[in-house]
Each structure stands twice: as structure tokens, then as C-alpha cells.
């Protein structure tokens, strides 16, 4: 019994780690609940139930912005953020790009997509080609619409500012993860007189976009954009599920605040804490 002669912390450190990470159990429960709610709402939507989704002004303005670019004979600039394709914001941005490309295809308007990661380049090219094909304009696809311009953050900002200054796009659509370069791009777009629609889930960059852009999608609105633009009931069902979970979380926050205020909320805090 070698272990009995060792201090307790050494014994526990020699014990094999558990197979299942019990400390993450609350997250698993939350994930299962979340998945169930989303699936239930989607099934509900499939049955043809009417779903109310509030209007998002920024998304309503996309078609108007592309229309303006068409009237002026100028291109539309779409920047899908500056993160790699494994970032959810970039995936959301590429999804929105598909919708925007379909509108530019219908209006026969040039679209420019500067990117800073080759994987985003490949995905964006594929999405644009598919969008043009579905719009029945596969002969007018320009493979150079998506351009790899730089791999560095500030070099990308300089390249985008150069495109805005030289090509004067009538509409700038900035969607995805942005950081310090957000204001550099948005202010240049403002100076160029472009109509600007931005969307990001980075809270620190939102004030910059609000100050410089005509419309701004905040946080969850970015992820909801592709479903909202598609108008498909099944996708809108997913958005309603999200709303339900938000109400549930707000309810939990209120209960937690009350319990912590009266000094009886430690059990709830430890229940919801997860590593």
C-alpha cells in the first residue's frame, strides 16, 4: 500500500483522470436543452406555423444598397472580416456573402471581396459561383471578384482603403470579425460617400461601426442574417428557438440576481459554473 504512505495531494495527483469531464456537465445539459429547443421550433416551422421575426433594418437595406450601386454603375465591396474560416463570424459572413452575391448577380453589379486568408478566398469564390449559378447568371461570374490582398491585419486595412479610394464602391458591406482596422475601413468608406452596412459580434468594435456606418448588425443579428435573408420558414424556426433560449437565460439571470442579493444563490452559481 504505497499510496497510503503518500500525502493526500500526491495520491490524488497519481489517480487517473476521469473519462468524462464532470465539471462540464452543466454545459452538456445546456447544449442538449438548446439543441432540443432549436429542433422543436424547426419542426414547428416545418408544419407551417406563422413565425414573427422582428425587422432588422440593416438587412432590409442590403438590397437597397446594391440597387444604389447598380444605378451609380459602381461596385459593391464586401469584407468578410479578418478571421480564418474556423471562426463562426467568418462562416456567418460567407453565408451573407452568398445572399449579397445573388442580388449582385440579378442586378449585374460588380462585387469585390478582399480577404486575408486563402481558405476564406476558396470558400468565398465557391459561394459566389454557386450564388451566380442559382441566379441564372453563371456566365457572368468573375473569379477575381474575391481577392487575396494581404495576410496581415493592417496590410489588409491599407489594401481595402486603397480599393475604396480608387474604385469608389457605392456600397460597403462589412460583416464578420473586425478588430482595430474596423474604424480605418469604415471611416474611409464614410469619406468616400458609400452606403455602409456593418455587422460584427465583437462588442469593442460596435461603437466604431455605429459612428461610421449607416446600419450596424449587433452580435446575434450577424448570425441571424443569413436565415433572415433566406426567409425560409425552417431557418426562421431556428431563430425563434434562439429567442426562446434568450428568454430562458434572462429568467435565470433575474433569479440568480435575486438569490445572490438575499445571500442564497451559491448553489445556483456552482451549478452553472463550468470550466
Amino acid at each position: 500500500m504505497l499510496t497510503l504512505s503518500l500525502p493526500f495531494h500526491e495520491v490524488t495527483s497519481q489517480m487517473p483522470a476521469p473519462l468524462f469531464r464532470l465539471e462540464r456537465l452543466p454545459l452538456l445539459i445546456f447544449f442538449l436543452l438548446f439543441a432540443t429547443v432549436i429542433i422543436l421550433y424547426i419542426r414547428w416551422a416545418k408544419k407551417g406555423e406563422s413565425l414573427f421575426i422582428r425587422k432588422i433594418a440593416g438587412l432590409e437595406a442590403i438590397e437597397e444598397a446594391v440597387g444604389r450601386a447598380t444605378e451609380m454603375g459602381k461596385p459593391v465591396l464586401f469584407v468578410p472580416g479578418i478571421q480564418e474560416l474556423d471562426d463562426m463570424q467568418t462562416i456567418a459572413a460567407v453565408s451573407i456573402l452568398g445572399r449579397v452575391a445573388r442580388i449582385t448577380a440579378q442586378y449585374e453589379t460588380q462585387i469585390i471581396v478582399p480577404v486575408n486568408y486563402p481558405l476564406v478566398l476558396a470558400a468565398s469564390q465557391e459561394v459566389i459561383e454557386q450564388a451566380y449559378k442559382e441566379a441564372g447568371h453563371d456566365d457572368s461570374v468573375n473569379r477575381d471578384a474575391v481577392r487575396y490582398v494581404a495576410g496581415e491585419q493592417m496590410a489588409l486595412a491599407a489594401a481595402i482603403n486603397g480599393i475604396i479610394t480608387r474604385e469608389r464602391p457605392a456600397a460597403n458591406i462589412l460583416m464578420g470579425a473586425f478588430f482595430a482596422e474596423s474604424l480605418l475601413i469604415a471611416e474611409t468608406g464614410y469619406a468616400a460617400g458609400s452606403i455602409q452596412i456593418a455587422g460584427t459580434a465583437e462588442p469593442e468594435q460596435l461603437p466604431f461601426f455605429i459612428a461610421s456606418c449607416d446600419y450596424t448588425l449587433m452580435g446575434e443579428e450577424l448570425y441571424a442574417a443569413s436565415s433572415y435573408l433566406s426567409r425560409e420558414p425552417v431557418l426562421l424556426g431556428g431563430l425563434k428557438g434562439l429567442d426562446f433560449m434568450k428568454i430562458f437565460l434572462v429568467f435565470l439571470i433575474i433569479i440568480g440576481t435575486v438569490l445572490m442579493t438575499i445571500g442564497a444563490g451559491d448553489w445556483l452559481r456552482s451549478l452553472l459554473m463550468a470550466e
Binding site: 487517473p16 483522470a17 476521469p18 473519462l19 468524462f20 469531464r21 462540464r24 454545459l27 452538456l28 438548446f34 439543441a35 432549436i38 429542433i39 424547426i42 462562416i91 453565408s95 451573407i96 452568398g98 452575391a101 486568408y117 486563402p118 481558405l119 478566398l121 476558396a122 465557391e126 459561394v127 454557386q130 442559382e134 474575391v146 481577392r147 487575396y148 496581415e152 493592417m154 496590410a155 491599407a158 486603397g162 480608387r166 482595430a180 474604424l183 480605418l184 471611416e187 459580434a201 462588442p203 461610421s212 449587433m218 452580435g219 446575434e220 448570425y223 441571424a224 443569413s226 436565415s227 425560409e232 425552417v234 431557418l235 431556428g238 431563430l239 428557438g241 434562439l242 433560449m245 437565460l249
Partner: protein, 236 residues
């Protein structure tokens, strides 16, 4: 087929990542698979770098060939790409891969100019051209903030006036001279700004946005995993 295969791959990859998150990497393969998959992403990303180079060369050389407006900048871009890339890939010594071929053309003393080490062409270009240009771009942010703040903080209505007053208070609090000025009225003012504006209203709003964004990201991940959301492939 073009839709089904990506949806199946997305479902399997997503489920592996979700299930792996709840298992211990020391005890099960499922726990380690998350790291493994992320390494694949890096490897695939490395291969696609060539796509980036092809894109940058094709787009810029077309502009240079057609002598479009500002073609000189495109030429500078092309020269920069190759000036940074080629010397950094050349062998540093005669014993390196292809070293015997390169050093039969160039004297061996040129070895220190190649590669990415200190004193190499790449190092010189990075430190004396690339880094200062990045810093210049970043420094310009201060001027852009000033112009954006001028527009945002104009007291056009009650809300904008409230924003203006709050911004002035926070900016004063952030600089030593401003804080000293605020303390002339009351020693508690900097503490109140910190407690009520920064850690109160500001944090509450930010957390609201973060919670919404996190739920939105999770919801979108689920929609992609279940094959409901296909817009990332340009479909639907």
C-alpha cells in the same frame, strides 16, 4: 452529391468536436481528437497559401498588364511579394536542401542574406519596411477616432447629449490631468465613473451583446451541423 457530402462532413466534424469536449484527453481518443482536427485545419490552411499567392499575382499582374489607374501600386505589390518570399526560402548554407545548387551560383558568404534569420533580406524588409508601415497604419487610427468621435458626440438630441456627457466624463477620468480636474469637485467622482459607468452600464450592455452573440453562434453551429443551414455553400 455536391450538397450531401459537405453536410455529412459538417455533421461528423461538428459531433466529434462537441463529444470530444466532454471527454478527458488523457483517457480517451475522443478527448484528443479536438486538437487533432484543429491541426488538420492548420495543415489544410498551409496548403491553401498557394491559392492566395496565385490570386494576388493574377489580380495584380492583370492591372499592371492593362496599365489601369494606379497600376504602379500593383507592381509594387508584386515586387514586394517576391522580394519577401524568394530570399526567405533560399538555403542558408551549402549543406541545406538545394544549397549546393544555389552556392554554385552565389558566393557562400551570401548565405546570411537568405532565410529568415537576423541580418537576412527577409529580416531587413520586415523590420525596416513592413513593421513601420503597419505601425503607421495603426497610428492613423487616432485621427480616424477623432473624426468619428466628432460626428458621434454632436449633441443633436437628448440621447446624443447623454452620450456626449458620458464620453467626456470617461475621457477625463482616463487621463491623469482629467482625473485631477474631476477630484477638484469631489474625490469620489473617479470612483463613481468606474463603478457606475464602466463596470455598471458599460459591462451590462457588453455582456448582453456577448450572451446574444454566443447563443447566435451556437444556434448557427447547430443549424450547420443538422444540415438546415446551407447558405455557407451558397445554397438555400
Amino acid at each position: 452529391m455536391r450538397t450531401t457530402v459537405p453536410v455529412v462532413i459538417a455533421f461528423i466534424s461538428g459531433m466529434i468536436m462537441v463529444v470530444g469536449f466532454f471527454f478527458n484527453p488523457e483517457r480517451s481518443f475522443l478527448g484528443r481528437v479536438e486538437e487533432e482536427v484543429l491541426q488538420w485545419v492548420t495543415i489544410v490552411g498551409g496548403f491553401t497559401l498557394l491559392l492566395g499567392v496565385v490570386s494576388i499575382v493574377r489580380v495584380n499582374s492583370k492591372v499592371v498588364k492593362q496599365k489601369k489607374a494606379g497600376w504602379i501600386f500593383n507592381l509594387a505589390t508584386l515586387i514586394s511579394v517576391f522580394a519577401m518570399a524568394i530570399p526567405s526560402m533560399l538555403p542558408v548554407t551549402k549543406t541545406s536542401n538545394l544549397g549546393s545548387v544555389i552556392y554554385s551560383i552565389f558566393p557562400e558568404s551570401w548565405g546570411s542574406l537568405f532565410g529568415t534569420g537576423t541580418g537576412s533580406i527577409y529580416d531587413w524588409l520586415f523590420n525596416y519596411l513592413d513593421a513601420p508601415m503597419m505601425a503607421t497604419m495603426f497610428a492613423m487610427l487616432a485621427f480616424y477616432i477623432a473624426s468619428a468621435a466628432y460626428r458621434a458626440f454632436r449633441a443633436r438630441n437628448a440621447e446624443a447629449t447623454l452620450l456626449l456627457v458620458t464620453a467626456v466624463l470617461v475621457m477625463l477620468w482616463r487621463i491623469p490631468m482629467g482625473e485631477a480636474f474631476l477630484r477638484l469637485f469631489s474625490d469620489n467622482i473617479p470612483g463613481y465613473i468606474n463603478s457606475y459607468i464602466m463596470n455598471g452600464v458599460n459591462v451590462a450592455v457588453q455582456r448582453g451583446i456577448i450572451i446574444g452573440a454566443a447563443l447566435g453562434a451556437a444556434s448557427m453551429s447547430l443549424r450547420i451541423m443538422l444540415g438546415i443551414e446551407r447558405t455557407y455553400m451558397g445554397k438555400g
